[in-house]
């Protein structure tokens, strides 16, 4: 199978290439960028006039709801493709948690059958994610897990975290941690501050994040510096601590959810449960620090933190509503919107959801290079569309951006050189 994508603007954050060029794809890999190889006769030509050809998005957190909701993975994979996402990192907070090799193999099998985006499963760091005993992380790695995560918060027992770090270091496996100290976050549902105070919502202090970060960095030093990825920063103070840790040479990377690049606690308005997210939205100062952290590289990547929530679980009072939002299909336009507002060059903005994310993951993806797998998206940066919940592919319909007009949309999504999604 030979494919040509012609007349497009090819934007590759990894190489810095950003110019009009044709892309030739042969047998699932990129054969040329620019002049086609001699004698190249494509079976199909995609005319990308007015469109941008970029690496497919690599999403560092998207919940596919399997195991748990059987059949969901197929739908969510289609949502990923519709959003131009060609790689999804799935956190282990499934039902049951992804803590057994058999579950991982089953998930990978279902993913192959779904023929969607590439799946990068995260294994549970502790059995049942209970934070008490280690999961068989080396065996899980063998089964295909790319890293090991403790979701929601750090293990309550910090000696478990210290041993987990030592054990992971033994096999040089990366740990993904949510920088949340559970005793301080407690049952909070909104960021501590004037909004939570006024609305009478139980709150999460910034210290829940900063205390967790201090804990992680100290234990990391004590454990021989295992690789740690910090998932979903939310505060200005947290961003600053990560900046200092990186400056001090600790092997850490960090990401932020796309909603936290755009929204703040005031947006909750009159208890709108679409804005009930985990971590909770913080102040404008925190959002500005997140944007600055993206600019200077303190925050390596942006993820969708895609969380399909059942409608009944959102039609509840704010504090009782399930946290999370559907986001695979809104990730690309929201990244473009951030780039436009914060004056970030397109190619650098795309890097946060492609090459930088791939670097966090340690996988050879998220780039357009001769010889690389042809995982790419062809998108129209000017396509205006309304995020109508019912029209989203994902089973999750709840998003703070419901019915908002967005700009930028995938037209073709290719995985391994195969056109797996196209939109007229």
């Amino acid at each position: 199978m030979k494919l040509a994508i012609v007349n497009g603007r090819v934007a590759d954050p990894a190489s810095g290439h950003d110019a009009m060029a044709d892309v030739a794809i042969v047998d699932g890999r990129i054969a040329a960028i620019g002049a086609a190889p001699p004698g190249f006769k494509p079976d199909r030509i995609i005319d990308a006039r007015g469109l941008i050809v970029a690496p497919g998005l690599v999403d560092l957190c998207a919940r596919m709801r399997e195991p748990g909701a059987e059949g969901a993975l197929k739908i969510e994979m289609r949502a990923a493709l519709a959003g131009g996402v060609t790689g999804v990192v799935c956190p282990p907070d499934t039902d049951p948690p992804l803590d057994e090799p058999g579950l991982v193999r089953m998930l990978r099998q279902r993913s192959r059958e779904a023929a969607g985006a590439r799946l990068y499963p995260l294994g549970a760091l502790t059995a049942g994610l209970a934070g008490e005993t280690l999961a068989e992380i080396e065996t899980l790695h063998e089964a295909g897990c790319v890293a090991f995560m403790q979701t929601r918060a750090l293990p309550h027992d910090k000696s478990v975290l210290l041993q987990a770090m030592r054990y992971a270091k033994t096999f040089d496996l990366p740990l993904w941690l949510r920088p949340v100290e559970d005793t301080l976050a407690a049952s909070g549902v909104a960021a501590a501050g004037a909004v939570a105070g006024r609305l009478g919502l139980p709150s999460v202090p910034v210290a829940a994040e900063t205390v967790a970060l201090h804990t992680v960095f100290e234990l990391q030093r004590a454990a021989g510096s295992p690789r740690v990825h910090l998932a979903r920063l939310s505060s200005a103070a947290g961003v600053e601590l990560v900046r200092q840790a990186k400056r001090a040479g600790l092997p850490v990377t960090a990401d932020v959810g796309i909603h936290h690049v755009h929204l703040i606690d005031i947006d909750i308005g009159y208890f709108d449960s679409n804005y009930r997210l985990d971590p909770p939205l913080r102040s404008q100062r925190d959002r500005d620090a997140i944007i600055a952290g993206l600019a200077d590289g303190t925050i390596d990547a942006i993820c969708s933190d895609h969380t399909p929530v059942g409608e009944d679980d959102k039609l509840l009072p704010f504090g009782e509503a399930a946290p999370g939002a559907t986001a695979l299909e809104t990730l690309l336009p929201l990244v473009l919107q951030w780039a436009a507002r914060a004056n970030v060059p397109l190619i650098r903005a795309l890097g946060k959801v492609t090459s930088d994310a791939a670097r966090v993951l340690g996988e050879p993806t998220g780039r357009l290079a001769v010889g690389a797998k042809a995982d790419l998206v062809v998108f129209d940066p000017n396509a205006r569309w309304r995020a109508v919940p019912e029209a989203l592919v994902s089973d999750g319909k709840d998003t703070p951006f419901a019915r908002h007009e967005l700009e930028g949309r995938a037209r073709f999504t290719l995985v391994g050189g195969e056109v797996r999604f196209e939109r007229a």
Binding site: G200, L201, L316, G319
Partner: protein, 319 residues
Amino acid sequence: MRNPQLNAKGELHHLLSIEGLPRAIIERILTTADSFINIASREVKNVPLLRGTAVFNLFFENSTRTRTTFEIAARRLSADVFNLDITRSSTAKGESLLDTINNLTAMQADMFVVRHAASGAPYLIAQHVAPHIHVINAGDGRHAHPTQGLLDMYTIRHYKRDFANLTVAIVGDILHSRVARSDIHALTTLGVPEVRAVGPLTLLPSGLEEMGVRVCTRLEEGIKGADVIIMLRLQNERMRGALLPSAEEFFRNYGLTPEKLRLAKPDAIVMHPGPMNRGVEIDSHVADGSQSVILPQVTFGIAVRMAVLSITASSQRIE
């Protein structure tokens, strides 16, 4: 974003919170309550304003006192009143909050008086009810208790006539108090120049300054020269965590005693939303003393709730 409790003409369609209510609406409620005050002393206590109106008291959290005053208010307006004590266990049986609302709407409800343990629950209900239905918040989580706030304003106006030169101290567990939040919004909207929140730092929420409140951590400082002192109820469960060591130590520092009351203006009034914990936040000599207006508050509460029910009932939902 339009305030969801007002219709397009700016009339009060639901009463969800005092925050964002125009001063004119608050004043209209207080003036209307005046006209209902005398009804209680008449032989025939009822007026036919809400005849044929079905008022459902939906109490997802127990409160006999608030429910009873709403019931009396609705009956005096000749409404048909239905009390539903929906404990959380029955909603846990599978029927969601909104299913419950839809079922009751099908029973030809016209008004819902809602008490719920979760902040914001009445907003969710107001968003999803049929357009002709009115929702009155009878207390939601820590967020708001607007009729209590309004009856407190009625009480203050009754004794002090004018809001323009007052110093009002709200004392105790501000963090968990929906009454405190409603009082603060009402007082600042009505132009009270000095509103003080008094309590230990563990019981003061963040953002009080942004609400126009002066924060005082010592009772003596907080009530000095005050015209009005609003004592809040301190729940026993607050002593279980690390917020407070004991009821005794709280009383020693924040309990209102006759000696401490002397720091306030000589004609200061003492209020409490009830039920009181004597010896925890308030000394019996103060609660029963000449400056206490705690019982008149209860009487005024009925007139104020009659005013709220009749004013909201008269608005139409206009989109």
